[in-house]
Symmetry: C4
Subunit: 289 residues, 4 copies
């Protein structure tokens, strides 16, 4: 590869990372967010209706062009950044509806607005902080998921026959139990219809609520403790470092003192015995420091 | 400006800041709070009904007079205090209804009672502490707002046609999603009507609840961590200072010791070689301290 | 007062504070708790029904007797303990129904069981810990109360005419807003009926929910921070003391060293100049330590 | 007992604790979890239906065999581990339905899947952490339980006559109050029907909600504070140890210095007085270190 192409790549990286380019993309996202929002209003004029798809197409084209530019600039390193994957998926999802045309897919175009997360450094930081909290929650989420699976299967077998609208199959059952976990209508909408057939059903719901609440609570505590630890450490480290420096200075001072006393000692020996050399004393001082 | 007018301004400031004046205003607010509360009771006697508007007018007049006094006292500095702005808006809103006479505007008169926040120093402190928590929440609130906007637009496009009473337009959709976020009737009142038309709608609500709950949780944690940090620092600082003072004392002691040893050293050299001066040794001690 | 009566009082105090007496009272409370619980079961035999009031009367008599004993033992100090006041009120409330006979007052007899809080030291500690949390919450509760009062008055004036079942008077309005604050049916049961008449009513409820949630959250945080502070301090103090002792030991060691060097110094001067006394050197060492 | 049998027991322990054996059991649990889940789907083919009970029987047999192996390996130590008790109960519950055949008991077979908790070390750790939080909550749970008992008895006596569907007996009353505590439909489903007969009933529910919320909140705070303390201590200990080591090093250095000065001192005395021994000086240095 010649020096000329290297420079071109560098110049491209500088361009896609420049504030101007980022702000241009940011502006496009905001404009698209507004036009997509306006689409939801029922009364619109003809000229406006004809402009909306054009804006949409321009925005998507620029996004695709941006991704291609970035890929040329970074080559394979492009795929190392999670945010590039995020952009790729969001833009990819945006192109699909243009091909198909289903209402559901078309509605996914609004997800493009989430590109604000990847474009604005402040939001990027928040999202990254939120994501960092997830690994610490892993084990408790696994326990919670197992609780859910077991409870769902049990609920289908116990109440599926008498209350099919709530616990007819595994999916329906899991959804009803999720509703119970959020405490939304758990008594009036879920427990009461079941209790009409199974008087003892309250035991199941009580145990489920107490256990899942306890697990969710511990999930929250895990995040709180992690956040506090992380912040606490940074501060403590700064303080500790200061104290450590002061202790190191003390140690230095004491060792210098010891060297001086040693020098004094040997000088005294020299003065009393007559013929020891000054060099030896200073060597001892150096070695002990 | 002569000394005489200066004294007048100073005296005015002393007056509006005096405990007597503040307690008088405080008393008026409490009286007005009671009369405004009494207005809500249906059965009242004629003499009482005729007194209420008079009390109201007197209170507003005193409030306006107080603000004018404060403005004369502080001049342009008046607008530097957020609490003066608060008073100005609250009193301003109180005068409007007297001009217009709409029921909605008349009901805003009760907002005057919030002047207790600005008049009582204890409440002022609480409100200021609450407001201090807001900047730390900024970024997460922005993320939450974006989530809401995207979800609202999506919900209108997906469910607006089939469930116009819940997701008919952007505002209605945002309100319904706020209800879902508070978990109030999310399953029975919002999800179930939608699921009648879109069987897969539970995915949308599940993802929305999990993501917003996680964001709100992190909002709370941010405030908790900030509060703990603020308090923790104050305490740690006091402790650290103490430890630091003790270390400084240690260092001082060691340096004094070193100086003494140096003096001893030079004295020894003098005694052995005969003619070095005492002044040099004491100089070395001073310089090393 | 003679020594004989003093001894009698002391003996009485020893008796009412003895484990035996406390356990006897504890046993009575538990028995009464069971009999009062049994009263709620519909089918009971005749002999059982005739025993219940007797147990009740015996328990109350013993409680009254216990309070009289305690009053004789402690005299005016009796009223200094909050727990004695608690017992006095609970037992007082228990006697009332025997006089009157109203169903509501009779049901208050079960409150006697709360005497477990005052009799069991473990529970006493928990309740005292809960009560200690209250002063720290005072200012925020005041702010919350003011918010409630203002919102209630406003809601009566705004919605009282159109929705009297929810906001007909100040009490009803405060209760409806408490329901909104707990998020129970705020949208479907409170907001929706109001919105039928006032389309903009969602602004009122949204602002109310956000503000009260934020205030309640800060109430919780205040308790958490207080609890953490209290625990944290105890631990830190122990650690700090240890570190401080070690630093004090260091300081002692260094001062002893300095004294020794001083002694050396003066000895050196004596040996070189011939006639200085050993006493002076040792005095200097003592004074510097 | 001969050496041969000892070796056999050891070999058996090594086998039941081997990764291979654990993974085999883990695999069986997962397969059983899937087959038990598949049982809930309505449409299944004949060959599949005939396989399910076979899988079930094989899994239970292996579990029973595993427990017997473990009992032979550990003897009485088997009952010292809580996890062995857990496995014993879960497997025991699984065998029952095969004997009886009731639908409710059959549904308990899915509880076997919870054996994942005992087999996977990661999950074991989470569960053990959750269990560790319980003792710290004991006293508050006792207070909460007493509150519930007293409130339930009171509610039966107050509202049992007029609202038997909610407060007809002690159990029903406790369940309704649990619903009120979770804030689910407390106003519309519980309070409103009661208020039709007892206008003042809101006082009861308001007090109950405030007190139980406060108690539950303190329960949560107790867990949070405990978790933070536990983590905080570990970190602090590491830091403290480091600081302590540094201080110990300082102390060592100073004592060595003091010994040297002492040696110097005695040497000086020897040189001035002529005849003191070197041994004494070095002894003083040793003793002071």
């Amino acid at each position: 590869m010649s020096t000329a192409t290297m420079t071109a790549t560098d110049r491209l990286i500088a361009f896609v990372e420049s504030a101007l380019f980022r702000n241009f993309i940011l502006g496009l996202i905001v404009i698209n967010a507004i036009t997509l929002g306006l689409e939801t209003f029922p009364v619109r004029q003809a000229w406006f209706l004809s402009i909306l798809p054009i804006v949409d197409r321009v925005v998507v084209s620029v996004f695709v062009f941006e991704l291609i530019l970035k890929f040329i600039a970074y080559r394979m390193r492009f795929f190392k950044s999670g945010w590039n994957w995020f952009d790729l998926i969001v833009v990819g999802v945006s192109i699909m509806p243009d091909a198909g045309g289903f209402a559901v897919l078309r509605s996914l175009r609004i997800l493009r607005v989430f590109r604000l997360f990847s474009v604005m450094p402040e939001m990027r930081k928040v999202i990254e902080a939120l994501l960092r909290a997830i690994p610490g929650m892993g084990a408790i989420i696994a326990v919670l998921a197992l609780m859910f699976y077991v409870s769902s299967v049990m609920a289908v077998k116990l109440f599926g026959g008498t209350n099919p609208e709530l616990f007819g199959n595994l999916g329906e059952s899991a959804l009803s139990l999720f509703q119970v976990m959020t405490l939304e209508g758990w008594a009036t909408e879920v427990q009461n219809p079941v209790r009409e057939n199974h008087g003892w059903a309250w035991i199941f719901f009580l145990v489920f609520i107490v256990l899942t609440s306890f697990a969710v609570l511990n999930l929250f505590i895990a995040i709180i403790v992690d956040s506090l630890q992380a912040k606490h450490f940074d501060d403590e480290d700064a303080r500790d470092e200061e104290a450590q420096e002061e202790r190191a200075e003390l140690m230095h001072e004491i060792r210098a003192l010891r060297a001086e006393v040693s020098a004094l000692h040997s000088e005294l020996q020299r003065s009393s015995s007559g013929s020891s050399s000054d060099n030896m004393a200073s060597k001892a001082a150096d070695s002990s420091e």
